[in-house]
Amino acid sequence: MNDGRRVLIILPAWNEEDGLPSVLREIQQQLPYVDTLVVDDGSADNTAEVARAAGSAVAQLPFNLGVGGAMRLGYRYAQQHGYDVAIQVDADGQHDPAYVPALLERLAVGDADLVIGARFAGDGDYTVRGPRKWAMSLLSVVLSRITRTKLTDTTSGFRACNRPLIEFFARWYPVEYLGDTIESMVGAARSGFTVRQIPVAMRERTTGRPSASPFRAMVYLTRAGLVLLLAMIRRMPGELKAFTPGTPAYAAFQQRTAELVARELTRA
């Protein structure tokens, strides 16, 4: 389903040499029309070499910047290399590339700038309990209000965005705790971008375990609340206004994508 849009899958990776090759192979087999960029976030192992050997482009940070820092690098790469769509996928195999076409399709409808692959939205049977669940419900309620759409999995790192939002995120991407998921979404929504979600099923992660103790869940709830508050009151840099919906730049990017798709469809 190559419709003329150039698609980049960004995989932020920190010490993922074990799982990364199979994740990359799966993407290449299922989605031969996309390019991948592995952002090696200052790994101490051979993440970068393994990714290169698997045939992916690699951007190697000289030291660890966290997921937010890695993602902004990914968006800057996508911007520099002229991609029309950027999709964030975790390098640990949690995100099933089979859902990527669904994300792309949802973006192509044209009424969404950011599409989130969400659990708890029908597909899959992932469950959580206790304070962690309260935190997630609180986030869902507040963020659904902010984005004026129903969101069920606001911390999902499985997301796709279009060219205008690539330009936006290349210039502004929060780097602190939960910034890569919550604050980036709030910032985009506050700037006028449209957020939508589609249901996906998440797989068990192949490496690492999520933290689950009630105490850590309470800490998570508190920090999430603080992040949310800061995201709401923070002033967005003024120069970003040139790329938000309603501006000539936004319209130009939209038109370029539409032309690409139209040309590809007439050729097919």
Partner: protein, 133 residues
Amino acid sequence: MRLSVLTSITGLLVLGYILELLRRQQLREKYAAIWLAIGLLAAPLGFVPDLLDPVARSLGVASGVSLVFFIGFVLVLLVSLHLSWETSRLEAETRTLAEDVALIRAHLVQQGGYPSTSPRAEEAGAIEAQVNS
């Protein structure tokens, strides 16, 4: 009398240390200015602590020494806040530089002009702890 000896000697030592750091170019002028100003204001008060007594009394503070304590505390608070601000700015600049390095390196590897083996790895651990916190 003992208190004024202690405070005046401390004030002079701090002032001397700031000048020495400046002389060895270990301190940027923009920070030195703050510290020199504080030192120059505080040193005379060390010699004559009751200099501020009238001012203190008019503000409702019991003695000049207490007022100096209070002002000193506020100044130190402001200076450390300023340092946090500078650190945040520096961290943002460092991050942008790191991204630029990674982008340029990725480009060079694609053009075949850069050896694609990992150059660092060991030093990553130390810095990562700071950046991630």
